[in-house]
């Protein structure tokens, strides 16, 4: 085997956004091993200044197409926190239902369209169509259900038009909710099928573990596997958590890395991870029965430190959100839906909103003057919070898998990045693998 590896993967494919992997091994010594994020920065925190409280969601939703509902919810919650706006229980439940549609949409897209080609050794999902038509169609069906679900609650699949600080501009009818519930019940079987297909190739996920810190939301009252409410917790917390979401800056500790246009983060150690696996590692006991069943299928247990298992934690969450939503719709229908009026008086204030994007915890903070015009903003995106952790994974992964040759190593590193489900357009884009051995 050659002693030199030179990998330079420029603009990693099948991730949302741009990233580069650079690896340089000379005579068996690793000289360079870098995760770089060169995507064009977009400066949202600067651009929202001078904008009114009721335009913030419209702007920041555009940070990321695939988590637009999450960005919309985080910003709306932050505006509500700043302007002391109350939200009814009905609006709160409908928003969580809206949020779950995005978790399903994003997870199915990621595992089904972007990760599955790796497991079946194909360059994209397209060649899989003739090879496994039924599996592909089941994935497409689940994806479509998720999108129709978003359409109903958010007004459309991407960039919601029904969210407003104080509540929702439009709510579904009871009939529409009943139909959605039927569709979700029918989707449970499709999800089980997708899990079985992935299980049949799960041995292709590299056996690689690296102990790290996992950060997510945690909700105690009532205890919930949460994506929307609660405080910030971590697997490293030892008397110093959970942390209130208004204090998220103390958790993220952002800094600028010369490798990246996106800011990096650290809390108890030099890197931490967010996402489905982080949520699972903090909250697995609170999963729905089907969520627990899927975890058991794959032998996924709390405390798992294999970053590739994030893909599996996403499948667990698909089952969880669908099963939980069926119950939530029951509750909404029992209480009966009421039209609600929203009225807001602008005032000065500062507020934060924190929700779990499909790819991890997301923080928004805004400050408004007495007219409700935004004077400052700070946003911290899940993909950014994973960059330092990806770099640390690389440093452990390359020496372990270097002997397998340049092509396998490169493929493994690409899969590793993809397993974090990065949407780098959020942060600003990523991939360049350079290898000399």
């Amino acid at each position: 085997m050659s002693k030199n590896i030179n990998i330079h993967v420029h603009h990693l494919t099948r991730v949302e956004g741009h990233g580069n992997i650079v690896v340089n091994v000379t005579d068996g010594t690793i000289e360079k091993c870098e995760w770089q994020v060169p995507e064009a920065p977009r400066f949202f925190e600067a651009m929202v200044r001078g904008r009114r409280w009721d335009d913030i969601q419209t702007i920041v939703s555009r940070i990321c197409g695939i988590c637009s509902i999450t960005h919309s919810l985080a910003s709306t919650k932050a505006v509500e926190d700043a302007l002391d706006i109350e939200v009814s229980e009905q609006a709160d439940t409908l928003r969580i239902l809206m949020h779950y549609s995005e978790q399903l949409q994003s997870h199915v897209l990621h595992v089904g369209y972007l990760v599955a080609p790796d497991l079946f050794t194909a360059p994209s999902v397209v060649p899989l169509v003739p090879k496994a038509p039924d599996a592909v169609k089941t994935i497409i069906r689940a994806h479509r259900v998720a999108n129709q679900w978003s359409d109903l609650l958010a007004g459309r699949t991407t960039h919601p038009t029904t969210l407003k600080p104080g509540g929702l501009t439009k709510i579904p009818t009871e009939k529409e909710l009943r139909q959605l519930q039927e569709t979700l019940k029918a989707t449970v079987n499709d999800l089980v099928t997708i899990c079985e297909v992935v299980l049949s190739v799960a041995d292709k996920l590299p056996n690689f573990t690296r102990d790290t810190e996992y950060i997510s939301l945690k909700q105690d009252n009532p205890p919930t596997y949460t994506f929307y409410h609660g405080d910030i917790t971590s697997t490293d917390c030892n008397g110093d958590g959970p942390v209130h979401i208004r204090d998220w800056e103390k958790v993220a500790n952002e800094y600028v890395s010369p490798q990246s246009t996106a800011k990096w983060t650290r809390w108890h150690r030099d890197a931490y991870a967010v996402g489905a696996l982080a949520r699972f590692n903090n909250n697995a006991d609170l999963l729905s029965p089907l969520g627990k069943k899927v975890a058991d299928m794959f032998g996924l247990k709390k405390g798992n430190c294999n970053p590739f298992m994030n893909n599996i934690a996403q499948l667990v969450e698909c089952a969880h959100v669908v099963e939980t939503s069926i119950e939530m719709i029951d509750r909404l229908l029992t209480n009966g839906l009421k039209e609600e009026k929203i009225s807001v008086t602008p005032k000065a204030g500062r507020g934060s909103g924190c929700v779990e994007a499909p790819r991890g915890i997301l923080f928004h903070t805004y400050e408004f003057d007495k007219n409700g015009d935004c004077v400052a903003a700070n946003i911290c995106i899940p993909t950014n919070q994973n960059h330092a952790n990806i770099q640390k994974d690389f440093e452990a992964f390359v020496p372990q898998f270097m002997d397998r040759g340049q092509d396998d190593l490169r493929h493994g590193m690409e899969m590793l990045v993809r397993s974090y489900d990065p949407c780098i357009s959020c942060s600003t884009h990523m991939l360049n693998v350079e290898f000399v051995k």
Partner: protein, 248 residues
């Protein structure tokens, strides 16, 4: 005859328009049957050199991106701007209301000078290279996308509405947002979305760009009637229309 080669490229954007292509679900399989997708970074690993149709998503914000789009233009027979970021600059143009150095300092603080954080004025694609067709919206409408692509494949020119959103909105019998004292840009914005936002009780914020001859004066007159100010209108027009004609 060989299948037309189609490639999709993204610049500064949220990639929500590409997502609408994925969201075609089963229909995407039909489309893939009649074209040869030769490059699509977000969905596949392959890359190519020449294209019959290049779909461009995103705004141009850096000198290196200007070079990249010029190179793509050279290799593409037809170039289509996909979504507001590409057609009009979209929300990205909000940045142009500020001094660029100040914008960088605001986000990156003392590290703003680091060379990899460089940024320029945000431009729509046609401010850098000629664009053959525009698919409007933020995000694009899936039906309009398939319509335009079908037209292009058949060598026809797609017909895109040049009348205001209000026309579609009134046909849907929505109560006008102005009646709720909200500034809705429907009177001056290009239809084609089915008045999507007002139909969910949300004002039109202008994502499809202005109609050819927007009647801003008429819009100003209604401001008085509803007790709103020109500044209210300006605020809303800047969301997707910063530093663009018409200005008020």
């Amino acid at each position: 005859m060989s299948k037309p080669r189609v490639a999709i490229f993204d610049f500064a954007c949220c990639e929500g328009c590409q997502l609408q292509i994925v969201n075609l679900e089963e229909e995407i399989l039909d489309l893939i049957g009649v074209v040869d997708v030769v490059e699509w970074r977000e969905a596949m690993s392959e890359q190519s050199q020449e294209y019959d149709i290049a779909l461009i998503e995103g705004s141009i914000t850096r000198p290196e991106d200007e070079e990249r789009i010029k190179e793509i233009r050279k290799r593409a027979k037809i170039l289509v701007a996909l979504g507001a970021c590409a057609t009009i600059g979209g929300v990205n143009k909000l940045k142009n209301n500020f001094d660029l150095d100040e914008v960088k300092t605001c986000v990156y603080g003392q590290d703003a000078g680091m060379p990899h954080l460089a940024t320029g004025m945000t431009k729509a694609v046609d401010e850098v290279v000629p664009v053959d067709f525009k698919i409007h919206g933020c995000p694009i409408d899936r039906k309009e996308f398939t319509y335009v692509v079908r037209c292009l494949l058949m060598g026809k020119t797609p017909v895109i509405p040049d009348y205001p959103v209000c026309v579609e909105c009134k046909a849907k019998e929505n109560v006008c947002r102005w009646e709720y004292n909200e500034v809705c840009l429907g009177p001056i914005i290009r239809a084609g979305c089915g008045a999507r936002c007002p139909s969910t009780n949300f004002r039109c914020f202008g994502c499809r760009g202005y109609v050819e001859n927007p009647n801003v004066e008429a819009a100003k007159e209604v401001m008085d009637k509803y007790g709103l100010t020109i500044d209210d209108l300006k605020q809303k027009m800047e969301l997707f229309g910063s530093k663009q004609e018409p200005t008020i």
